[in-house]
Subunit: 338 residues, 4 copies
């Protein structure tokens, strides 16, 4: 089968190779991958800035959607023809994560999905939402599930609460769409009028241009009746975490779901009112298989369609990575396999 391989760090080292189709264990399912989406994690893996010990050749990418083509002898949940999406943290099936559930991540402890076929245990898949294309479904495993798990399962978002989202990356746009579907008010930050218009078109109740408001937590409160928001999802890290903390109200929830500006979080108990306001800072990254299935039902019931920035064929995988690196994208970058 065809597979994309990274032979050394850097986008110039992406090559299409012909490799053996995976053989199946008794509890595994073979999936013909139709579409893949990229995440910031893929970029820092490619660049060598996240895991310097990557073993080459390496098949990249965690987010994939496709069709089941074969099942192992003991598989009961899937049959050929089923449209499916891959679960990123393979063994985290239900409930809260534990060490066993956290042990296997796609494209980390297993090969990535940027290949014609991939083999996964039958518990490491979910049914594709009926209202989505493969390209759309491929955007869900990391970005959408992180937004869902943070907002719905960890923060317990309720209708009428206010959610603050940051920018136009994948997690933030899914957070916006999910929060609106859940009946929340959404305030979004961004850096340009063009992006502000896109955010409003997606349902944002208010948008803040953070270039105009360096201390944007004040503007957040001004737009929220004078008090902080209930929930925010920080995706930038070092550069924003302080403003994120100051943007939430008593008992507020600050999900830390990204680190584009760096992983250091320079917090201060007093200045950020961590104790005084009983703030919760919650490490976030995807969710369980059960949460994924629940999210997909919400996607169907509310007919949510992921925002796709651009779609590239497998042969232009390098261009897809460069688009991601540019920071100019709004929404998800997808690669299709014929």
């Amino acid at each position: 089968m065809k597979a994309m391989q990274l032979t050394a760090f850097g986008a110039d080292n992406l090559v299409i190779a012909d490799v053996a189709t995976p053989s199946l264990k008794a509890n595994e399912v073979l999936v013909n991958i139709k579409a893949v989406s990229l995440n910031y994690l893929d970029l820092i893996l490619l660049n060598g800035t996240f895991n310097g010990d990557l073993v080459f050749p390496y098949i990249p990418a965690s987010d994939g959607a496709g069709v089941v083509t074969a099942v192992g002898a003991d598989v009961s949940r899937w049959k050929p023809g089923d449209k499916v999406v891959i679960q990123y943290v393979q063994n985290w099936t239900h409930g809260s994560i534990d060490a066993a559930g956290n042990a296997v991540r796609v494209a980390w402890q297993t090969p990535g999905v940027l290949s014609e076929y991939t083999a996964v245990p039958e518990h490491g898949l979910v049914k594709m939402p009926a209202n989505l294309s493969f390209e759309e479904a491929a955007t869900l495993p990391i970005a959408a599930l992180t937004a869902w798990y943070g907002l719905i399962e960890q923060a317990g978002l309720r209708p009428g609460q206010t959610v603050l989202t940051q920018g136009t990356g994948g997690v933030s746009l899914f957070a916006l769409q999910i929060a609106k579907a859940a009946g929340a008010k959404v305030i979004a930050t961004t850096s340009s009028e063009a992006k502000a218009a896109q955010l409003k078109a997606l349902g944002a109740d208010a948008v803040i241009n953070y270039n105009q408001y360096p201390a944007w937590h004040e503007q957040v409160k001004a737009l929220n009746g004078g008090e902080g928001v209930d929930i925010t999802m920080d995706v930038v890290g070092s550069a924003t975490i302080g403003e994120s903390l100051l943007s939430v109200k008593e008992n507020g929830f600050v999900g830390t779901a990204g680190f584009i500006a760096g992983p250091e979080l320079p917090l201060d108990i007093h200045r950020h009112r961590i104790n005084l306001n009983f703030i919760r800072i919650q490490g976030l990254a995807v969710g369980s298989v059960s949460a994924f299935a629940a999210m997909n039902r919400a996607i169907e019931v509310n007919d949510i369609h992921p925002v796709i920035d651009s779609v590239y064929p497998l042969e232009q995988t390098r261009e897809a990575y460069l688009r991601l690196a540019s920071g100019k994208h709004v929404g998800k970058i997808v690669i299709t396999l014929s």
Copy 2:
């Protein structure tokens, strides 16, 4: 001031009297009531079937909205001119209910609100939603808050889950509207095509005519991909609780929020799969002040407007009760005070 008084059991014993305007304690607020709504509870109190020890003359009705006209010496939260709605369980301010919080209900341990003025402690009020009229706001204290507290705070409703509502009474219509605002799928039962059309106009994804399906739990499952719903709010009691229990899935939530057909619940652990499916049967009735305020934010953010069946002037209070007794109403019955 003018006040409606019940002088003996029965709708014919409703008379408008001239009584002293309440004097204020230091922590109390005087509210000029503009609109009141009726609940099934008011009907059985009027008829004497619920509390035979009622002391006459009795000012009826629990649900009211109006304007603050005066405040006691120690009141800090309200000022004259504030538009407010009365909290039914006066001392239940936050969190889960306890004995102290449960001690005082409007029109039970205190006079009702069907009068020009009523005095309530400053903690026993909420701000009226900005998008509602007094008539609309007067429908909220019992019916809407019961639906909200059950769905959102007790059942923990999440987007994509399925809610089953029963009929076209106040609690059920609010449950439908709140569930849709929260991103859920809603299946509703009713008895006529006309009402079915109204339910669909309010957002119901599917409607079941229970006259056509006596064992309607089967139809519920057929409309929900073969499995039970996540949550239902039983408002009928004796006649429906069995079907309600059979309509939910594993770990399902059956709120018991009414008893129009009688208060006896003839359950069977095996036949209703109570233990086998880990079903939760939850007594429901309104919520805390804090929950009321949270609901009002959701009403504003999602611009929810209560369904009003009919509006009567104070002088036609008897007709309002008779309309409620007829069972022909869809939504809430309101009485206005000039």
Copy 3:
């Protein structure tokens, strides 16, 4: 291998047979069963009063502990020599139960464990608590896990709350022991002074002889500072559920974990204050694998030892059932396999 078989309904139809040792699938584990405990469920299955369609010959019993002797090709969590306990609801691994998790129960959809060997999927086992013998560990899967899941995971028991337990059966004694380990106050009901002494020796703070107090909810409140308890576990069903409901306070939790007196629950919304007091009636029966493992850690940390009424060799299985049927037991009845 040797296995106990029921060839027709009734204790006289229990025979020891020589049957083939189970063969292993890739993800299965072979367990050499050392001890088994009986539950009320086993008795009604034996008598034919619960499931008239039982297929004979039938290997009975769900609760077993033993030693792993072989593992399938894909098994990674267990190795020969591991001491283990069998999970009753085999596929319910984490989180809340769903339909897939609820599909397979030991000795119902699979053969029972009253045999020398049994084969179970690697996810359907837990490590045996280090402080227990096989006989003790064999008592855990149904009775202890029902008490644990109800008290800790569903009711969310906190130190200082009051738990009411009923009688001296397995679930109730485990509820008593777990509640005391969790820092709760425990009030227990029973029918004799001898059993009262045993309950006090196990840590009960107060004991009520229900023969002396037919309306024992009044005595419960008298022993609890005048208010209802936070949590009770009803194990009797028809005869006690009314008193159970009247024994809890506002927002109280009534777990329905048994039906010795019959499965009908004749509830009344008013008389039992279901809505007025926001009571939760929760169907209970065991828990997930993850909950089982968590319980076992609590058993180790607090050195809890199950109360064993009596131990029978395999050859006296009939006598063990008769002891259970007598209702004279205090704690669990165990059968050992050499």
Copy 4:
């Protein structure tokens, strides 16, 4: 009445003054203070390092216990003779904190309690645990309630989980005692063999001398079967937060309850595995009135007695502060008023 007053920053500026006994509003209660305990907060207020805008003369201290001597006209919950403890965050009565609940803290927005009498609203008190002396009860409002609210209400501690406590200050010792009462395993850190012996006497299952193990998270895991603990309460801040984060398992809870070494928390998403392990960092500081009452029931049921380091008469308040500043104390420092 006699009251301690701080006339300028520094322990040398504590003087006993004769001031007017507070007059009562309609909803207030007058409490004759019998004992007061000091917190780290009192020390930094005294030194001027926390709030430079303190208005002098200032009556210090938040933690007090005493006897009700008079009640306002509208007070219904208390009567003269009731033994009570003062709630620190006066208006936070139930549920999660909000802005209104967070507005008034004793000795911050109101006079402190180091005086013969103090007036508080009737909702700002709890009944004193029956098993405690005034000296013991005076230790509860900040240190004990912070430990309780963090462990029980925010982290949801369950029997069998492992809690890591740090040192021998008030919060940490209460966390140890509460965790043991709740059936948890406790690992404690300290700096000397003498303190280690005291910790073990209080029930600690294991003690780590952090001077011997600078990277003590490794030793924590070694003592916990190779995995991180479920919950830790960080009370030191800058110097320990990194080790605290590395000491917890997947989905672990790190309460930040103190800042003795400074309020800066230099976190790193990767190095501290915040996202990878879904860690929750939770700002902590006391709890609601309802939580306080629940804690007091747990204190009574489990007969928990606070660890008191030393007791000073009012005239030696300066010495009490100096003892706190020395860092040599184990447990709480109490001041008594005759």
